[in-house]
Symmetry: C2
Subunit: 349 residues, 2 copies
DNA sequence: TTGTACGCGTTATCAA
DNA sequence: TTGATAACGCGTACAA
């Protein structure tokens, strides 16, 4: 087992100085053709690669991006990671992942672990618990230490950083608009509690769409789910709540669900109650994931373009990282809105 | 914007030496109670944290695990990551993710990027292209450089490393056994080409199950899909192939699919052809993911326990990393088999 | 053309 | 009780 070879070892072996080796490898014209050849041959033979850690220490930059997301077993978030990774690698960066598991403490700890020199900047989406507690000091602190953050999807206005979001309101309006134009008169929404920013915005879009079409919203048609991480227990509870919704509002002919799970569950319950889709009930959901595409009937959904969000976030972050040094164009933060689009499938007319 | 504070700065500020500060912070008894207090107070005030990179360089270990997987937008792989991350964090490690995207080149490049000091060891699942080309030199090389690897799920025998796999053969036998005991006489399998090790093993399990029950396998009931990454094109092709299968074998009353996608697609096609599930056609699939649980009908599946695989892999790797230094218990590699279990749902009787 | 010295931030060893 | 020094691996300004 040959350990990784270093400049020092090559230097010793070839009986030259370390810096000669270093220069030779970087093809410096200072070094004679002769020694250059010799060193390079030797280096290739022993498969020399500069040690990243040493470079990081020297350059005071790691070329690594820290990602903190609430969970990874989730179509949207993994798509975002794909996008980040794509751009990051293309631009010479690595990606290190931390999961908050929707917990405030884990979010804080994870950020601390990474902020101590391991990474150059963060891309993150805020944990539900954090949103609920509205305690954002850890974001502020890391930013104050000169480490840039890009937030995506679940963002919060008071933090000075670049943001990439989806036009949730507009997306929701498209979704509900589709139901209305499909003839629905009694449209229910299945959404999250308001502290989840995206849930709130989608609810707002729902209300605006109704208003635009002179439909009076009814409180009884708005179901706000308390969604912690989805255990089987919660799943049962979800089904029950939706069943109640349908039973006490038999006129419902359209459902807008703010995520796929709510949508398929609604369909499941509706079927049990004898409703046909899309004939007697039409369903639209947010998040264009596996479920939407492959379940039967396939779902009409609002696509959030997760990968694009990831790519944009990565570009924003890296741009800022590579700008920081020269200019001082800081303090001007961008909020990029990624357009959604409606993908029509079998769950609507 | 206050930069991250270092020992040096604290030392200067307090007019003591760097090593005094270092010792004081680590509560060394060499340092007087007085200065200790002073230093610690100051450090706390400025929120001092030791720089990870410097520590990595000094200790010649990064406390970081590199993960290389074919794709992340995939229930099984993201579950595995969740498991790895859980154990890693508990044991003080970070996790850095590289995606091979099923490509040999990206796998090699990603490993090179990380192997240059960024990480202490790898946990990976081999890209399809690599399996196809059977070129494993990059694994051998990194192992030879003293960097341990743990392979999971898609493994290859000739590499000397720890492995965590699923009892694919046994799992497949369970699945097919379920169909047989449910009364199926003509069981088809939808699987991958043989170079995907897990596909091959599951096919083998299928054949063994048939044999055990004295059923003669029929070549026409074995559909091997060439599955590159699933674009929409491939999806259409998949549907067509499955439709052909059903049409030319109308006696089929049971289907064993080696993954969820094949299963739901089979169901979709079957429905189109007027088959009722599970009455006239029963379906079992591998991989217990979102689709299995939430599509209608929900699928009877073989659960692979992805999270457990991740946890086990991480423990194996970290054990080896933390052993390496003292003993030389190397060269004895373990292959852990994670038991599968059958989760019965609506797609079987 | 080559080599020396320094610094990145930390800890360990040894000297004061 | 404190401090100077070396080392981890690298690149580079400057000296030879």
């Amino acid at each position: 087992m040959k350990r990784k070879v270093t400049l020092k070892q090559i230097a010793k072996e070839l009986d030259v100085s370390i810096s000669t080796v270093s220069k030779a490898l970087r093809n410096s014209i200072e070094i004679s053709e002769d020694t250059r050849q010799k060193v390079q041959a030797f280096a290739k033979l022993y498969n020399y690669r500069p040690n990243n850690i040493a470079l990081s220490l020297k350059n005071r930059k790691t070329k690594t991006i820290g990602i903190i997301i609430p969970e990874i077993v989730h179509y949207f978030f993994s798509k975002v990671i794909t996008g980040i990774e794509l751009v990051a690698n293309k631009r010479g960066y690595n990606v290190i992942v931390g999961l908050s598991n929707e917990s405030f403490d884990k979010e804080v700890i994870n950020m601390q672990m990474l902020a101590n020199g391991s990474i150059d900047g963060f891309i993150l989406s805020i944990a539900k618990e954090t949103l609920q507690q509205q305690d954002y000091h850890h974001f502020i602190e890391t930013i104050n230490q000169g480490m840039p953050i890009v937030m995506f999807d679940r963002v919060v206005n008071e933090i000075p950083c670049d943001k990439v979001i989806v036009d949730d309101v507009k997306g929701a309006k498209k979704a509900v608009g589709k139901l209305i134009s499909g003839g629905c008169k009694h449209i229910a929404i299945i959404t999250t509690k308001d502290y989840v920013s995206v849930g709130k915005l989608r609810t707002q879009g729902y209300l605006e769409a109704l208003e635009d079409h002179k439909i009076n919203p009814k409180a009884s048609l708005i179901l706000k789910i308390e969604d912690k991480l989805l255990s089987d227990d919660h799943l049962d509870k979800l089904e029950n709540e939706i069943e109640q919704l349908f039973k006490s509002n038999t006129a419902i002919d359209g459902v807008f669900a703010v995520n796929e799970l709510y949508a398929v569950t609604a369909i499941k319950v509706a079927r049990k109650l004898g409703l046909e889709i899309p004939k007697s009930l039409q369903v639209v959901s947010f998040t264009d994931g596996v479920l939407s595409k492959h379940s039967t009937p396939s779902l009409t959904t609002v696509s959030q373009h997760g990968q694009e969000i990831g790519e944009k976030s990565a570009n924003l972050l890296i741009n800022r990282l590579e700008l920081d040094e020269n200019d001082e164009d800081e303090e001007i933060f961008e909020t990029v809105v990624i357009e959604t689009n409606l993908i029509e499938r079998e769950s609507t007319k």
